[in-house]
Symmetry: C2
Subunit: 119 residues, 2 copies
Amino acid sequence: MIEMLKKNYLDVPEEEVTMAGSSGVRIRWLITEKDGATRYSMRRFEIKSGGQIGLHNHPEEHEIYVFSGKARIFNETDFETVAGPGDVLFVPAYEKHGYENVGEETFTFLCVVPIMKKH
Amino acid sequence: MIEMLKKNYLDVPEEEVTMAGSSGVRIRWLITEKDGATRYSMRRFEIKSGGQIGLHNHPEEHEIYVFSGKARIFNETDFETVAGPGDVLFVPAYEKHGYENVGEETFTFLCVVPIMKKH
């Protein structure tokens, strides 16, 4: 049976993001199917000063909430912004997106991503 | 066409939550279908010191990330915890859940909820 649960983000192991074009990026999968989630997962990212996630895309849309730091977030064409604490971003499905920490602090954010069902 | 977007949470109007059993609760719908989201919405809640959201349930599961403050979060039977900054909660579909701010600070958290499709 799926039950209500609480944990702290620090209880969740941190993993290095090894995707091509990424450096200095760590992820914690805070809530996933293993916790009973059926529709989307909640992840917490940290990008070190100077670190980045290169342009990439996928079928999953993103909902992002920035905790701290300052990063350039961009797509392949006309979108480019510097995001900081309290900023919220939406990235549509298949849109190419990248992140570059342009501050001195670690850039930390929450990113919610759909659980794609296998058909 | 749906496009990548950024806003700050302060740009989103705050609404009073008027649900029965609730007091001192405000919500901001940060990302919704209006922004192009197709699967879930991201909301930011503030519960004033002494405020609460009474026990209630619904088909939508919740994924919660606590920013600040201290609240008792409970279900109808055996789950009761005090949640604070950096805590993460999962509330399964249909499970009754309630929140009570038991600290002096405002209790603020992010709560992601599915967009239920009309059939």
